[in-house]
């Protein structure tokens, strides 16, 4: 059979968000993949510039429906850094507890989606049933199932009562038992292992080079976790392991996520044991002094990065959001190579993509009024390589140097 192209998306049952993958097939084997994003650009960054910091925080929380707490925390960490606010320890702990609960619900959600993508709907139904336990807990603690709205500049909006903390520990016991069952399923169910192992292989070197983050990177043996490497919130006070795996495939990514679930339970237990008494918020100024800050956060999908530039008013000068999916997307094309059509959904799903969170737009306004011209992609590439060479950076060497450094 000759090569032919098959469109996966922008509308496709395997994808819950609009993005387009054009896959060139030879029979059932994938030759190459072409990716297109930008179907769900919402103009959030620009909208943040039009709103006060507290309004922007609520907007940023809506970047992602699943890791909403990640984005809002990441954003206000930057704002608080500029304002020089030290938030109370109890608020730090509460933010951390919500962050870990969010990771639990995100990973359980992923497990279900992965099950669905390989036609194992029973796993979907089971893991989503258990996810309800976390969702209910989050609703009890914050008042909402998603978009918790617990953060505020200078702390958190709600305290967690003693009864809720005790209930949290019980929830952890239930979930731990459930997760052990999933670990058992993942290590024994033969069709599951057959469908996952060896699929979407990406070598350790490629993972580093393409800059993958989060569980996707850790499943290829990249020992990187912002919670440990650059501690924020209460992570420096608690002990946890960074789960890595050397399978380098979808099976490895499953094991990493399930392993991280087990870590989450132990982390929440430690947090509940160590949580200090005290106020949960400090008074924050309405106007944030001029300055800029860069904030990193280990979201369930990987490193989330926010950049905030303040200009002394109550509105931000510039907000830049880089969702973890953007960092992981480059590696998907490599993972696809030499796999089969049947594996496309699970390979895409294995990075736990969140395309709507990723969509950003860059537009360059030529204020000098220079003549506009159209330039071909190839010419632009040559031009940029040339431009960097003049600055003393040679990208051709850079790849080789990077490989050498990685070997060393």
């Amino acid at each position: 059979m000759a090569n032919f192209k098959i469109p996966i998306g922008p509308q496709h049952p395997a994808l819950k968000e609009p993005e387009s993958f054009t896959i060139t097939l030879n029979g059932e084997t994938i030759i190459e993949m072409d990716m297109r994003l930008g179907y769900n650009h919402r103009g959030i960054e620009k909208a943040c510039e039009e709103r006060s910091y507290i309004q922007a925080m609520y907007l940023v929380e809506r970047v992602c429906g699943i890791c909403s707490h990640s984005h809002s925390t990441c954003f206000i960490q930057a704002v608080e850094e500029i304002a020089g606010l030290a938030i109370p320890a109890r608020a730090q702990y509460i933010r951390t507890i919500i962050a870990e609960l969010e990771r639990i619900h995100s990973h359980l959600l992923w497990l279900g989606v992965a099950g669905h993508e390989i036609g194992f709907d029973t796993l979907l139904m089971y893991s989503w049933r258990d996810r309800e336990v976390v969702m209910d807990t989050l609703a009890a603690l914050t008042g909402n199932r998603v978009n918790y709205g617990i953060n505020t500049i200078g702390g958190v909006r709600r305290d967690i009562s003693k009864e809720h903390l005790a209930g949290l520990l019980k929830t952890m016991d239930i979930l731990e038992e459930r997760t052990k069952y999933y670990i058992e399923v993942a290590s024994e169910e033969i069709t599951l292992i057959q469908r996952l192992s060896g699929v979407g292989f990406i070598s350790h070197e490629d993972t580093v080079m393409l800059g993958a983050v989060g569980p996707t990177a850790r499943a290829s043996g990249v020992d990187r976790d912002i919670r440990r490497d650059d501690p924020y919130l209460a992570y420096k006070d608690i002990e946890f392991q960074v789960i890595t795996d050397t399978h380098n495939d979808v099976y490895g990514r499953t094991l990493v996520r399930v392993g991280e679930l087990m870590q989450c339970y132990s982390m929440i237990r430690q947090l509940v044991a160590k949580i200090p008494e005290g106020p949960v918020t400090v008074k924050a100024p309405r106007k944030i002094p001029a300055g800029e800050a860069f904030s990193r956060y280990e979201a369930p999908r990987g490193e989330d990065v926010h950049y905030v530039k303040a200009n002394g008013t109550d509105k931000a000068e510039r907000v830049k959001i880089r969702a973890p999916t953007l960092a992981n997307l480059q590696s998907v094309a490599r993972m696809m190579e030499n796999n089969r059509l049947a594996d496309v959904p699970i390979i895409i799903a294995a990075i736990d993509p969140c395309f709507s969170c990723t969509d950003r737009m860059i537009r360059i306004n030529d204020t000098a009024g220079r003549r506009k011209e159209t330039i071909s992609w190839q010419a632009l590439r040559t031009h940029s390589l040339e431009w960097y060479r003049k600055q003393g950076v040679d990208f051709k060497d850079l790849n080789a140097k990077m490989r050498q450094r990685m070997k060393a």
Binding site: T191, R340, P345
Partner: protein, 313 residues
């Protein structure tokens, strides 16, 4: 003449099969749901789905071969209903029978799969063409083991007629125990024939949207759906007649009860199978069928060859 028409159209013909097929679809969906810790649909859901689909607009793609597109659902439905008449259900006598009807039934049960292929191919959509190719690839994998598994009991009975086979096994019920491998093989093959998890590769929705049926809608899709439901019942009846020939000589009422129990058991087993397994890849499916299922069926054939020499001199 009137009686034959009644048999063909009402009982045990089309109308009975229609109701029975929908009922079994309900049993399957409810069991699947309960096993997954869900509530599941109400009893009339399959019928409601059918009515809803039948009331919808039929859309035929401009690129598609309109004649083939319209004909294929009718072919699928006709062939499964025809196959049903040659299978002994609650007595040792089927509605029609002749020597060699076993082969005819197996072939009639192959026709729906071929119509799925042709329907997908003539839809000319990318997804349905990939689905069609997968349907055919899968057919070659499970069809041969199914043939061998069903022919093995016939070999032991020394006849190519389903009715005579059931007479033979009714006289020697213990002999049915020899065919246990064949029973397992044909259950697996039936799951493949019905294109259900783990063999729902041709219509894997997360990969190729609706597979073969991507372009189908309205009445034509409803007809395909009902054909698949009836195929499940006919397949289960065939397995019941060949491998579980018990309670056939107890009169019509008890026979009917036994028949229902047998079909329900087969449907329940198939539902269990699709609950606990993930979808295989097409090449994994083919390898599984040729490396494990086909040799098992061959082994069954060998056992029955030797046994027929020993037991039926």
């Amino acid at each position: 003449m009137a009686w034959s028409l009644f048999n063909l159209l009402i009982f045990p013909g089309f109308l009975f099969l229609f109701v029975f097929g929908l009922a079994m679809e309900f049993v399957d969906r409810k069991l699947y749901a309960r096993l997954q810790n869900r509530i599941g649909p109400p009893w009339f859901q399959p019928f409601a789905d059918f009515v809803k689909l039948a009331a919808k607009e039929d859309i035929i793609p401009e690129e598609a071969d309109s004649v083939m597109f319209r004909l294929m659902p009718a072919f699928a439905l006709a062939s499964v209903v025809t196959a049903f008449f040659y299978i002994p259900l609650w007595s040792t006598q089927s509605l029609f029978s002749f020597n060699g009807d076993l082969i005819v039934v197996i072939y009639l049960l192959t026709i729906p799969t071929l119509t799925f292929f042709l329907a997908g191919w003539h839809s000319t959509s990318l997804f349905s063409m990939i689905g069609a190719t997968r349907t055919l690839t899968q057919l070659f994998a499970y069809e041969v083991p199914l043939f061998m598994a069903i022919l093995a009991p016939a070999l032991l009975a020394g006849t190519w007629s389903l009715s005579e086979m059931t007479v033979f096994y009714d006289q020697h019920p213990a002999y049915a125990a020899f065919n246990i491998i064949g029973l397992i093989v044909s259950l697996i093959a039936l799951q493949g024939k019905l294109e259900r998890v783990p063999f729902d590769i041709p219509e894997a929705e997360t990969e190729i949207v609706g597979g073969t049926f991507t372009e189908y809608s309205g009445r034509f899709l409803a007809m395909f759906r009902i054909a698949i439901d009836i195929e499940a019942v006919v397949g289960a009846s065939l397995i019941a007649a060949v491998f579980l020939p018990f309670g056939l000589g107890l009169g019509a009422a008890w026979g009917f009860v036994f028949y229902l129990v047998k079909v329900l058991a087969v449907i329940a087993l198939l539902a269990l199978l699709r609950t606990v397994l993930a979808r295989l890849r097409i090449e994994q499916m083919v390898i599984f069928c040729w490396r494990i299922v086909a040799p098992a069926a061959l082994f069954q054939l060998l056992i029955n060859l030797i046994l027929s020499g020993v037991l039926r001199p």
